[in-house]
């Protein structure tokens, strides 16, 4: 029997039943590896359900530091009989099946080309504990203990994690320690050397943190000065609003009065949520909502108004797979066009694309500056993969000398000094007008906010020329926006090449690994990671500097490519789309394979073609 032998480079996948308490045990397993200084990447694959349906948790162990999804499974832990067959089938040849051997299973349930490791988990848990709840939860810890022993994960590290997790509920520490030991002892006695996968202490984690993007973006909103949050629950954005609440309770309560420097309302729907954000933005508070595709579609009218009336607002779109009865708990990058052109009439918006939780924090905080500077809605385009999975990333940092950019707001003093005020006047030549906030001055600076039926001084007008004048200024404002938004990150291949690749968002991690593999195969690509729309000029220059440009994205219709073709007036034939949209995060293997195949066809990878 071939046995996959690997140290710090393999994938473990758990199959569980939703609501069975496995999530915290699995998380502890993952964290113990991290504590040993070995980088990991974890991904939850879960259904739209609270209890009973299958869920999976994937842990990629990568001493090399790859944190994208690799694809494939080396060690499978199928704890859910419903999905057993599919789970067993997903193991790479030579891989391992770790299962609960309490009940005998017919040979037809196994495969010849994998290594089977049975541990009587239920039996051991049932003989030790009496209460059904204890048996269920502690069985999870028994398998963690057994797996740790199989893979060489330090027992003390796990014990310490248990102590941290149950700090304050100290009576739970003992049974959990015991469960770990029961599982570990069984393996040490009966299964020595059964598994060729090993975790070995490294020093590759450094000061990095392990956090999910929604938590990070919520913290970014706190640091970015958001005071008003209005939202309506929708997976996968809900945990962002909830995290904002949790962070605010710790960081935003006045120490003297114990009163809140924030206001959060759970609106009755997304229309109301975005309406409240726009009302608050109009009135000078930094406000945001968090939602997903279906919510964005409900918000369209308001987003259009915010564009025309130039109202600062921030919208977090945690993208998922389509409609409510689509794949609400699966990841995609499929709201690009609906957000870029959200609204009615001629509109175009500013989108930001964080690549991981670290950047989600940064761009989240930045979004509030951009919204007020540019007097416009700003979309922070996360996705479920970043938003709801914990990622290993650089720690958050903050520059204390930085003050919020509140944009062009005329004060009482400005008005008092007699500065001319026209709400839609382009005074500085950057197409960004000045605004006043309600209640500023008793006799100066008030105006009536409307969509477009007004002139530069906000006086009622439906004149065609006045409308065109305003619409042209809005276009020029978007040019100004290009200077403020985060610029793309370009990277030159080791060797000169006529090929480029464009990618963005959560694809980044898998892309880094794919590029490494491609390079080793002699396929050289210049790269550009987009971080914002409208595209700064260097994006179009990058495309024009290459014969062919791959655009890697996680949707069916090549939405980013459409945007590039459209906004850059580029010949569509220049682009080759690499599209992944089955709801799981894109993998390095997928990218590598797709690009290699295309390159072979293009006759470009001469070395590869020769093989």
């Amino acid at each position: 029997m071939p046995k996959i032998e690997a140290t710090n480079d393999f994938v473990v996948k758990f199959a569980n039943v939703n609501g069975s308490g496995s999530a915290s045990a699995n998380e502890m397993f993952a964290r113990s590896i991290l504590r040993m200084g070995v980088p990991i990447a974890t991904r939850n694959i879960f259904p739209s359900n609270i209890q009973g349906l299958p869920t999976w948790f994937e842990v990629r162990v990568s001493g090399a530091g790859w944190i994208g999804r690799r694809g494939g499974v080396d060690l499978m832990v199928p704890m859910n009989p419903q999905t057993w067959d599919k789970d067993v089938a997903s193991i790479d040849p030579g891989g391992y099946l770790f299962y609960d051997s309490s009940k005998p299973l017919p040979p037809s349930k196994f495969r010849q080309d994998i290594n089977v490791i049975g541990v009587p988990l239920t039996e051991m848990a049932n003989s030790r504990w009496q209460l059904p709840r204890d048996r269920q939860l502690l069985k999870n810890m028994v398998y963690v203990g057994a797996l740790a022993a199989l893979l060489g994960i330090e027992q003390e590290t796990l014990q310490k994690l248990v102590e941290e997790q149950f700090a304050g509920k100290d009576r739970l520490i003992k049974p959990n320690h015991e469960a770990l030991k029961i599982g570990g002892d069984y393996v040490r006695e009966k299964l020595k050397g059964a598994c060729g996968l090993t975790v070995k202490r490294l020093d590759k984690v450094g000061n990095r943190i392990f956090v999910d993007g929604n938590d990070a973006a919520a913290l970014g909103a706190v640091y970015g000065g958001a005071t008003v949050c209005a939202w309506y629950p929708i997976t996968p954005s809900t945990s962002m609003a909830e995290a904002f609440m949790a962070h605010c309770k710790k960081l935003r309560v006045d120490s003297v009065t114990k009163k809140n420097k924030f206001a959060i309302i759970q609106a009755e729907d997304e229309l109301s949520a975005i309406g409240a954000v726009i009302g608050a933005g109009w009135n000078g508070a930094r406000a945001f909502t968090a939602t997903s595709g279906p919510g964005i579609s409900l918000m369209q009218e308001f987003i259009g108004l915010a564009y025309f009336a130039e109202i600062p607002s921030v919208i977090f779109d945690i993208q998922r797979g389509g409609p409510s009865t689509g794949m609400p708990t699966r990841t995609q990058q499929s709201d690009i066009l609906i957000t870029a052109y959200a609204g009615h009439g001629d509109t175009k918006h500013i989108l930001l694309f964080p690549e991981d939780p670290h950047e989600a924090f940064e761009l989240s905080a930045m979004a509030f500056d951009l919204a007020e500077r540019l007097q416009a809605p700003i979309f922070v385009m996360q996705d479920l993969d970043i938003g709801m999975n914990s990622w290993l990333c650089e720690p958050f940092s903050w520059n204390d000398s930085k003050l919020y950019d509140r944009g062009k707001v005329m004060t009482y003093e400005d008005l008092e000094k007699g500065k001319e005020f026209g709400r839609y006047l382009d005074v500085d030549g950057d197409a960004i007008p000045y605004r006043t906030l309600p209640g500023t001055h008793p006799t100066k600076g008030a105006f009536f906010t409307r969509g477009t039926s007004r002139d530069r001084y906000a006086k009622y007008s439906e004149e065609g020329a006045v409308y065109v004048d305003n619409m042209q200024r809005l276009l020029r404002k978007l040019e100004t926006a290009k200077k403020y938004v985060p610029h793309p990150i370009a990277h030159h291949a080791k060797e000169p090449t006529r090929y480029g690749v464009i990618y963005f968002g959560s694809t980044s991690a898998a892309m880094a690994e794919a590029l490494d593999v491609l390079e080793s195969k002699g396929i050289h690509l210049d790269t550009m990671r987009l971080r914002a729309f409208p595209f700064p000029d260097e994006v179009i220059e990058f495309v024009n500097a290459h014969d062919q440009v791959f655009v890697v994205e996680q949707n069916r219709d090549a939405q980013m490519r459409t945007l590039l073709v459209n906004e850059g007036a580029i010949d569509p034939a220049r682009f080759i789309s690499i599209l992944h949209y089955d709801g799981t995060p894109i993998t390095a293997r997928f990218i590598t394979k797709s690009i290699s195949e295309r390159m072979t066809l293009l006759g470009a990878a001469r070395r590869e073609a020769a093989q």
Binding site: I209, Y223, G225, I264, I274, A276, S397, G439, F448, T449
Partner: protein
């Protein structure tokens, strides 16, 4: 503050109030509504009320949806910021504005189409949330701006020039009572003496105040078959009380039948003196109010007056425990936890 030297001879509209503002300081642009439209009378009543209350015009924020009624904020309080938002969604915009700055007076202006048709959900939820505001519907039973289709407040059997309404009406007053509004009144755009004190009382009410004002559309719904016409409302107006709004308690000088005058002190110290016209009507009893309204509506009466008042209203900001200063006045120093706090947070994620 502007100081106006008093000229010797003054036009009545130039008599300054306590703050030195004249009536004209509360006016807005010239109305573009049809001559005789009820909505214009409501604008006039709003101007009068703000003038008499000595409100600094710029401390008011006017928000509206879409419709002829929603255009009116342009026609009063020209020194106030206004926001003509989207159809049926003014309540959410007002909610957000109120969260951002608790110190302004929020005036929401809407129509019956805006609030009872497309925006019924937002109307109810905004009131549920106990936003400190005055919410006025200028109720004509039709969509004026889209040329006279029936709205959801039109009574069953109402006739317009071209059609008959077969659907049951939505009673915004009943909705507001159910949703927990703490000040609920109905009035008529043609009765300034009733309307102005009601608006004043609503503004001084520190909670969710709702006023449904029957406001005839002369263009599309003022005919014989309409229950929202000038004639119909004049004939069927059943005012349960008349209200005096007084800033401080003063002596009752006029003679009244015993039991016909009731005084209620509001949270801000202002006094509402109610002259009871229907002795059996009790505006402090919400359930009674709902029954009374239903019974009299069945009889074809349009019940007007101060219908319900809770002198100790709730306010969203109290429930949210927000700081006393407006959230929009907080800056980097007050809001940003800084890099030191971030170190500890990073540790939690290791």
């Amino acid at each position: 503050m502007t100081y106006l030297a008093k000229p010797k001879f003054r036009h009545p509209s130039l008599v300054p109030n306590k703050l030195g503002f004249t009536h004209r300081d509360y006016e807005g642009s010239i109305s573009t509504l049809c001559a005789g439209c009820g909505h214009d009378s409501i604008s006039t009543a709003l101007i009068q009320a703000c003038y008499e209350l000595d409100i600094e015009p710029h401390r008011v924020a006017k928000l509206s949806g879409i419709g002829c009624s929603s255009k009116t904020p342009d026609y009063f309080l020209g020194q106030s910021h206004g926001f003509n938002s989207v159809h049926g969604r003014m309540p959410s915009v007002l909610t957000g504005a109120n969260l951002a700055n608790r110190d302004l007076i929020y005036l929401g202006v809407s129509g019956d189409g805006d609030s009872a048709s497309i925006g019924l959900g937002q109307f109810v939820h905004c009131i549920r949330r106990a936003i400190n505001m005055v919410y006025i519907t200028e109720n004509n039973g039709v969509y004026g701006l889209t040329k006279g289709q029936f709205s959801a407040t039109a009574d069953r059997g109402s006739k317009s020039k071209t059609s008959v309404n077969n659907d049951a009406p939505i009673d915004l007053i009943g909705m507001a009572l159910l949703a927990g509004a703490t000040f609920v009144a109905r009035s008529f755009s043609g009765d300034k003496h009733q309307l102005v004190p009601i608006i004043k009382a609503a503004i001084s009410h520190k909670g969710s105040a709702f006023i449904d004002v029957i406001s005839p559309c002369v263009q599309f719904n003022n005919g014989a078959g309409s229950t929202k016409s000038y004639d119909f409302v004049r004939e069927h107006n059943a005012a349960v009380n008349r209200l005096d709004f007084i800033e401080e308690r003063d002596e009752i000088t006029a003679e009244y039948e015993p039991g016909t005058v009731q005084e209620v002190e509001q949270h801000d110290g202002s006094i509402l003196r109610l002259h009871k016209l229907h002795l059996d009507y009790d505006p402090s009893d919400r359930v009674h109010a709902m029954n009374y309204l239903q019974q009299h509506h069945e009889k074809g009466e349009v019940v007007t007056g101060l219908l319900y008042l809770d002198p100790e209203p709730r306010d969203t900001h109290a429930a949210l425990n927000t700081v006393d200063v407006p959230l929009n006045s907080l800056g980097t120093r007050e809001l940003c936890p800084g890099s030191k706090a971030l170190e500890g947070i990073n540790d939690d994620y290791r």
